[in-house]
Symmetry: C2
Subunit: 438 residues, 2 copies
Amino acid sequence: MPGYDLIVVGAGIMGLASAYHLKLNNPSKSVLVLDRFGAPGQGNTGRSNSMFRNTFTSSDNQVLANTSIDFYLHLQNELKLDIGLQLIGYLWLLSESQVARTERYVRGMKRNGIEVEEYSVEELRRLVGGVVTNLGDDEESSVMGLEDISGAVFGPKCGRLDPEKLVRFYANEFTRLGGKIAFKTSVEGLLLGPSRKLGIEGEPLVWQEAEVKGVRVTGGITGELEAKSTVVACGAWNNELLEPVGVDGHVKAKKRQLFSVSAESDGPLLSLLHTKGFNDLGLIPMVILPKSGVHFKPVSEERKFWIACEDEVNRPYINIPDRDLDSYRAEPSYYERGVHPVLAAYFPQFRNARPESMWAGLYAYNTVDYLPYAFREGNLIVVGGDSGSGIMKGDALGRIVDALYRERGDASLYGGVPYAVSKIGFERRDVKREEWVI
Amino acid sequence: MPGYDLIVVGAGIMGLASAYHLKLNNPSKSVLVLDRFGAPGQGNTGRSNSMFRNTFTSSDNQVLANTSIDFYLHLQNELKLDIGLQLIGYLWLLSESQVARTERYVRGMKRNGIEVEEYSVEELRRLVGGVVTNLGDDEESSVMGLEDISGAVFGPKCGRLDPEKLVRFYANEFTRLGGKIAFKTSVEGLLLGPSRKLGIEGEPLVWQEAEVKGVRVTGGITGELEAKSTVVACGAWNNELLEPVGVDGHVKAKKRQLFSVSAESDGPLLSLLHTKGFNDLGLIPMVILPKSGVHFKPVSEERKFWIACEDEVNRPYINIPDRDLDSYRAEPSYYERGVHPVLAAYFPQFRNARPESMWAGLYAYNTVDYLPYAFREGNLIVVGGDSGSGIMKGDALGRIVDALYRERGDASLYGGVPYAVSKIGFERRDVKREEWVI
């Protein structure tokens, strides 16, 4: 049975960031990455909205995102690697009650050095043409429970990037350092065995120490692969590998949908896309509306908007998702009756906008506190639970996985920022639930 | 569609204790309990080892168990209800390292008024005939990693009860108060609908408030049952109802096995059963060995021991268990190769003891911190996650469910002990992980 020092399961952002930092810091160790798909980031990483922000209420989210964003900026600005990063910013449009709640968030963020700006409704109207801040006595808006916009908050160190370009960077660097990736190879299970083999039937028995010995694979490679340490970084599929060996993956998936609308031949939408005053690119930021987290972002190179929303209503949790992601489809009626009426009420430019394409992906929720986790049990390391913000924290999580492997109490995040890895484990978890969710 | 003020799903200890306290404190409300089985406690409640203890490191576990035990003692001693309660005590036999660790636990418990006694190995040997505290150079013991016994801890306010008698008490009192129970009625799903119905296709839509409107049932009753509030108390099956409406049940099940050994015609085993000095009944307490939580308890009325063990090795977590509990079977080889060698090493009386019957049940683990939870989301109340100690905390949890229903910040546990219900919710959860697990 072929053996490796380390096997990393999953070639999405979590797996590849982990593999890269592991190989970088443990150059003499043999590291193999396994993935069902044919290329990096073809699971939920590639289906995501791929936005990033450093504006969180949780100080752990702040540091995980902020240092990762700094690393991504370093890649693009200093190493001149194109990862499609655009600092367009996030613009939250807030109802009166949201303004009141957000003031506390903003104070907390400023205290921690997170840049964030507040706008009055007048400033907002001056900057963003066509936005409806006062809904008047519009009956449809009233039925939907929409509220007037009373203010806005802008996060400048927020934006978008190209997740496939980012994971290709990690994959390329990892292989350049001597790491191996086996694509189209499906991990069917973890191998569990006794720490000290006795040759007795039924091992590991109740009184024996047991540990993960590697993985069972089919596809590109078939059979059993031995590993001294195994990293599970399968995102929404963590439970599939972990439950059979009695470890909880602490994750439940939910379908999230994205709708793409063209601004190509639409004057008002094109004007909205090229709204100036927020960033150096002369683009409208990602805009989050006061209701149900409905939001849109500019995809300037294609003259499109991507539209989505927070989606708690009647949306099942999935413990172990279907392996075929195409079985999770976007629903036209969801846009039509759910998202679009809210969008068009605040931005009449979208009144006639119909999606030209739509797709779905899965969020991997850590339902305990909606923050990511990384923990080690013996020679098994698990990372996940990003709850929809994995790409923006991916680099930090990769460094934390490496610190867990090397049994360091602190990971050194980008910029030399120390982070106590036990904080996002479960045994001594010490994080505050994120309050600012989209 | 028939309507109730309250529907409680599950007629195990959690559901019936909840139903009783709900009906008692809300006598004008109509309360219906639904259960798949034909009688109270026929799921995992009736398959459990049905032991109780107040000896926990978590102060929340202490108060939940201690007040529930007080209530059960009140039932049996003052109300003269036979619930099969025997205060036999728990006796932990400890290795040297366990003695060191346990000292801290014991100090913490004594500080909180929990009775607990420490024994030297000499006292132990004097009290318990035949126990092997010094394993010498026994090769099998060495292979199994068994350690000598260096001391013991005894909890006197611990023991056993008859879970079916206990749940019948709750069921009888609940129906006497006017509550209804529909057995052989399977809840197939929760009904989710908009809080304010608009008559639009696809309700509840993204921008609508949604809430649980009742349940969909088959069996004894078939169809939809409306309820103003719904309590999910399905133990290991909580996820089955909650995931489809996007709520995490925070529970994973694991199979646990019990083996019954007769002491009927076995002199040494019968002597062990009737070990004096620990309780008024002249019975050996529940005894927990230093390895893998192997333990046995006396079932004096049948002259039997029930034997089990802590079972982490190679034992899968189950997210949604099979409805047919008989599909989880006890494994003879598990006793033979796993449990028995440990048992016989410390208690040679068991050397030839073979189980005359065996069965399995499911623990419903809250994998976050192994303490039970109870929370409310709108008009949905969820209780569970007892992680194998639900019966001993059942009464307290029932009172907490009632407090959640009445939107009281504090529940009044038996004896008038106040308990802030938010502590065992998830939004503001404030409990310490239990360290003393069996």
